[in-house]
Symmetry: C2
Subunit: 541 residues, 2 copies
């Protein structure tokens, strides 16, 4: 009864994880409301304890698996691909910088802060180093030793990462809210502000160093958030792979070793996709800077900045929708077989893409209801409506394109899998062969043609295949660059949802802030995840 | 590429469903906040349209599958078991009664209501009748015709049911909130109340008939909520079964035809479980009535009523935890193999049990934080803390017990699967046989013993097996009855969370009301679903 016990072991670790996660989220959400008598030191203490426990478990795991010779008999070749590993290290380094800033910020008024606030970033730095090393070394492991302990340990690591992610998202939202209430006329959260100001009065952040540190660590938050999510997905795949048996047939090289280089970029694309994408990226960056400058100034420039922002986004989203649709149409003519193998990494990727898109969908639907139901119908309302509708369409078509791409088998080198060209050629060749005597003229399909015709197939179908593959590579690169700029804008603080006042007037500040602050982190994560998936599509095409 | 296309078809229907559902939930949640300019007539119009479309699709489906001879080549024997079907009809009938009440209520002030409010319950009644017939006839179908259309139709039906469920939950929460603000001193939602009272002033509900109708339809809401969820689970299983191929090996009678009768109750249990369960049920009902009477009166009796309520719940939950734990221990000695077959119904059951428990977990963790973090530590705080902790423990152990039960293969009639008794007997018999000449004295296990010893095995192991099975049946019946009373209390309006003022003072009214109103419906659904799962455990044991 192997499978049965597998589910039992998974169930126990899931129960552990769910309960710890709920406790953490209760504390974090209670701590976010200043009215409530839960202080952020409680949250910091809980998170620090969880990170310490995780570090101990990781060290134990590394020590044990190095001792036991048959603890890891199989490696999952799909798990921990190079772009995930690379992203993890990049975001890990940024998180370390953030931790330095945070330690500096809290050290600036050491005398009136509790020790845990300075301890927290230091422990987090150690945690990030240990965990990144651990995932670099063992992300592909299919563990077969200490099953229950390993499952619980991995689930606990996952829970720790998710708790850190939640804490970071909540902290960032509270920060945005503070800066919003400070700069605008909305003063609904007066009790919140008062509580914050009493702390600030006792320990003012006056020195230049302190203010630089504070600014710096809030700009680095998006990287910390992404680090936690990247680590979570990799740990989840490891957890799924515990006790997994992989046959040798599953391991026939899926082209994963074929990493994209700059030279191959010239050879393998039409060069339109990357150029157009880069153009949009640069224009978008410019518009983002103009927008931020205009909005943070006086209110006279806000309307113009919003029109500019929405126009660029509508153009970009429209193009992306059309291009994704084009990609899906190309697949309609593609005869490659679908990959049927069990693949936890891909299943998770698809689930995350579909799930994370829900956040952006929700914001868009609320916007649509607000614009349609609201009374003043002006230019900004129309732009907002088109933007929301196109956002939904773009997510749908991009998801369809990516999911279809990930399920294709990698291209076969010798053309024996596509049916269509073989048929055509078989007929053509038979005409030639029928001039020879003794050839049977049965009008049917020749299944196992000898070597001669098959070589001809390769020569004939190769350019067509190449053309299609080049097109797909162009599409994926274009979409990738567009997703990067659409990630940069909200991740670094563009919030047109709060500046255009349409939804704000319709729903009221507290309700609309709750909707955006809960849903937008998922939308940002979607962009990030789409980038990594599109990189995979580029390699596989 | 069958599987690949299957996923593609599923993806399209999921995308359709997600978008419609998000639109509906946006409108419903906007409509719930009276400040927002979305009126409930918009919500009613959307739901009515969705129900009409679903009715049309169902009629089309029934018509088409009756014409096409090979549209449904297989039936899934696990789908739509008898208790789900029975529950669906029971709740369907209650929903019809509710619709009559609702039509009567809205007809009472016909002149100043829009027509859609009277049309809505009438259409809902037709919808319930058509859908119940549809699920009664075709819940087991594995459809193989019009794949994409069927998938989209089923997903749309699912979406309609979920939207009705959401609307009912929101409507009930708003009603509870109104009666709460009317009866207590909390008047935070003044704007909400004012908007409600202006409508009521124009069209007063003065007649006795009208008031009876209003009271009646709010008491029947829990059944409507359960009806939607039952229908949703059955439709989801149908959707999973579209294009499924079932081999003949999967269909070896899983004992599902063995429905429990009253006579078999006497034969198959020790009779302790049902008696103890009934006792708790009756006592609980009495305490529930006392609680409701005391709380709705003046505030002097509230404290006493709460102590009574919490004491009963602590006793009941403690017993249930111990009994579930006992059941899991019995399984440790059970040598039955685990059932490995793919079974969408069971997978969904397990996911729903684990998922619905999250609602109660969340409430409990928030209570724990409030009690531990709050300052006044009195008797009520201690009771609340024990209640919350036991609630979490009970959910965990009951889930473990139910999930383990559902994964067991049904008992084998002739004792050839348990290893233990056979071994013991083989040795015993060999001693006897060794007195005979020419018997080889190899000290090993005899695998295929002749007919004689095997009959002896059946006789010897039968009472032990019977004892274990009886014990499990007692446990499942006891848990079932306890779950029924724990369902009745919150479903019919017991809200100790709002009466004990502990969490209310800690979190403030609006936050705590949001937490409870979002999470409690899942908790109530959990009880309902646990009852149906425990009935299945009873039959399978």
């Amino acid at each position: 009864p192997r499978e049965g016990w597998k589910k039992g072991g998974q169930m126990l670790s899931v129960l552990l994880s769910v309960n710890v996660l709920l406790l953490a989220s209760t504390l974090i959400s209670s701590g976010a409301f200043n009215k409530v008598a839960v202080y952020d030191t409680d949250v910091f203490a809980l998170l620090t304890t969880m990170m310490l426990l995780t570090i101990i478990w990781i060290l134990f795991y590394i020590f044990r698996t190095s001792r036991l010779p048959d603890a890891v008999p199989y490696l999952d070749s799909h798990a921990g691909p190079i772009w995930l590993q690379g992203g993890l290290i990049l975001f890990g380094v940024c998180t370390l910088v953030m931790d330095v800033f945070k330690t500096g910020y809290y050290s600036s008024f050491y005398e009136c802060q509790s020790t845990i606030k300075i301890l927290y970033p230091i422990i987090q730095a150690i945690f990030v180093i240990v965990q990144t090393y651990f995932l670099w070394v063992s992300a592909k492991d299919c563990v077969h030793a200490h099953l229950d302990l390993t499952r619980c340990g991995l689930m606990f690591t996952l829970t720790t990462n998710l708790a850190i992610w939640m804490a970071a998202v909540v902290d960032e939202s509270v920060h945005h809210e503070h800066s919003h209430t400070a700069s605008s006329t909305y003063a609904l959260l007066t009790s919140d502000e008062q509580a914050g100001s009493t702390v600030e009065e006792a320990c003012p952040c006056n020195t230049t160093f302190c203010q630089v540190f504070e600014q710096g660590y809030f700009y680095l938050y998006p990287f910390n958030i992404e680090y936690s999510l990247f680590a979570s997905t990799m740990v989840y795949v490891m957890w799924k792979n515990v006790e997994r048996l992989i046959g040798p047939s599953h391991d026939h090289g899926h082209g994963h070793s074929h990493t994209p280089t700059f030279a191959s970029l010239f050879r393998e694309t039409f060069f339109i996709g990357p150029v157009l994408g880069l153009l949009i990226f640069v224009v978008g960056l410019g518009i983002f800077i103009i927008y931020e400058v205009q909005v943070s100034g006086d209110t006279s420039g806000t309307h113009q900045a919003l029109v500019l922002y929405y126009s660029f986004n509508i153009a970009c989203l429209g193009l992306m929708t059309l291009v994704s649709l084009g990609g899906s149409i190309i697949y309609r003519f593609d005869q490659r077989t679908m990959d049927q193998h069990k693949n936890p990494t891909r299943t998770l990727d698809v689930a995350l893409l579909m799930g994370a898109a829900l956040g952006q969908y929700a914001i868009s639907y609320y916007s649509i209801v607000a614009v349609v139901g609201g009374t003043p119908r002006d230019l900004l309302g129309g732009l907002d409506l088109s933007y929301s509708l196109l956002m939904i369409a773009q997510h749908i078509f991009q998801n369809v394109f990516i999911i279809e791409s990930l399920h294709r088998s990698p291209p076969v080198i010798h053309g024996n899998s596509p049916n269509e060209p073989i048929h055509g050629l078989t007929y053509a060749n038979r005409d030639a062969l029928q001039t020879l005597p003794d050839y049977p003229s049965t009008p049917g399909l020749v299944d196992s043609t000898p070597a001669g015709p098959q070589e001809a197939v390769t020569i004939i179908s190769a350019p067509q295949k190449n053309w299609r593959s080049k097109c797909l590579k162009d599409i994926s690169l274009f979409l990738l660059l567009c997703n990067v700029i659409l990630w940069v804008m909200p991740a670094f603080g563009a919030r047109p949802q709060f500046n255009n006042n349409l939804e704000l007037d319709f729903y009221g500040y507290s309700l609309w802030a709750a909707i955006v602050n809960i849903c937008l982190p998922f939308g940002i994560f979607y962009r990030m995840h789409a980038v990594s998936s599109l990189l995979e599509v580029y390699v596989l095409s």
